[in-house]
Symmetry: C2
Subunit: 269 residues, 2 copies
């Protein structure tokens, strides 16, 4: 293989599995090339990604070291994504009554959630989490993409305990949105006690779900090291949880004029 081809293949392989460390030897064997050549190729690969602002190739020296790709989204690209989401969200036809908005088209758009996930991956890259945790249903796609970018397994908390989950641990929690007690349940096999998790969810009003997830995982001594929400309502101001970051804020929803107040979180990083 020629130089240009090796560099391109390196970037393709590394970026396909973000945050997964490969040894230099892996690429030496794959390309049948000397370590010195691969090192030079990696240097070019790094510069390339830097030039187009599409992620970072990180080399960790030493025995346990290796080379891996770390996803990145620039501040400008993030602002552009926020603008795109706000433009979509402020459409008055989304209003469902009771202050609810229809957002499934956004949360089930794989290209949009991939970009949102890149924001969360950048935000939580350094948190040394073991899991991405979410609760069914609408947050699962963005959690899946975030888990992919951080190379982490997911904990998907269920509303009802299912036979296919084996032994489960359940809690009752108070949902601020629906103003009633709800249940959530997690498979005991899904969690290694004492680990760290990032919570990812599609929407937060009062923060009852996030508090519930925090509480149920606390039963396994799991520490929450970050919470990423796609859309957070500005009201109520007082949430059941403090430490969260949302990509978009949802303000007043006026059912009569069909006006929706929505804006990006400019302090996300």
């Amino acid at each position: 293989m020629k130089r240009a081809e090796r560099v391109a293949a390196l970037i393709k392989i590394l970026s396909e599995t973000p945050n997964k460390a490969y040894s230099l030897k892996y690429f030496c064997d794959l390309f049948n090339a000397a370590k010195s050549s691969i090192s030079e190729d990696l240097q070019t690969a790094k510069q390339t990604l830097q030039a187009v602002n599409l992620g970072v190739i990180q080399t960790t020296p030493g025995a346990g070291g290796g080379v891996k790709y770390i996803p990145y989204i620039s501040d400008e690209a993030c602002q552009q994504l926020q603008k795109e989401l706000c433009d979509k969200l402020c459409d008055g036809n989304r209003i469902l009554g009771g202050g609810f908005l229809y957002t499934s088209d956004i949360m089930f758009d794989s290209n949009l959630v991939r970009q949102v996930a890149t924001v969360f991956a950048r935000k939580f890259q350094e948190k040394k989490a073991d899991y991405v945790a979410t609760i069914e249903t609408k947050g699962i796609p963005v959690a899946t993409m975030t888990a992919h970018m951080l190379n982490l397994p997911m904990i998907v908390i269920r509303r009802e305990s299912k036979i296919s989950e084996g032994s489960t641990l359940s809690i009752n929690y108070f949902s601020g949105s629906s103003d009633r007690v709800q249940k959530m349940s997690v498979s005991k096999r899904a969690v290694v006690p004492g680990s760290k998790a990032i919570i990812i969810d599609d929407f937060m009003r009062a923060g009852g779900s996030v508090k519930g997830i925090t509480d149920i995982l606390a039963e396994f001594d799991v520490e929450i090291v970050g919470t990423g929400i796609v859309i957070a309502a500005t009201e109520p101001q007082k949430k059941k949880t403090d430490n969260y970051c949302s990509l978009i804020y949802l303000g007043k929803v006026d059912e009569s004029t069909k006006e929706i107040e929505v804006f990006g979180n400019c302090q996300i990083f």
Copy 2:
């Protein structure tokens, strides 16, 4: 930018958004380069991906044309993935009773479901589908990744109709697994009538869910052009649906000896 850097950046950008067509002009502007240079770069990019068997760059000429990346998994890589899944699945500790296996660790492993999704993307690339459809919950990650690879929106069918889904259409269907009538519901906004969909799900026993999804989408005149299942049970042999392809077959599960019969579908392509 140098040649090698442009080629690598091209591959990175194209493969980040599979099946999305870019104009040649887009790259000319991005790299500030002539069309002839970009055409040469694309040629190198194509050869590179071919050499490492990691997808195809396709150029469509003409006004509506453009260049796009098409994901690919080789027969060998698919067999290796099937072997990896079988090795994981045949662990006797997965047996939950009633013939059920614990599979959430697999279905919520973003790296594994990404590879499974590449198989389905290769399988259904030419089907001209408009949607990837699934039913909550465990099939959502693999459906998300498949939708990402095919650049399609998802239809996520719910068990219960939710206020956040707006007007919904519901059906009752007979689930062979649980031997009872269940309900599924889909948001009317989620589906454009007369379109085509691929069904992706994590598990099939008798095929009741897939038949249910087919029926509920038929209410919108949606044609099912393919069905991809991660794990299909060999029993019952007679399913409620015919046209499906599964990556893995699950045979006898012996609760007393803890033996699990599991094998890859060698005719998936």
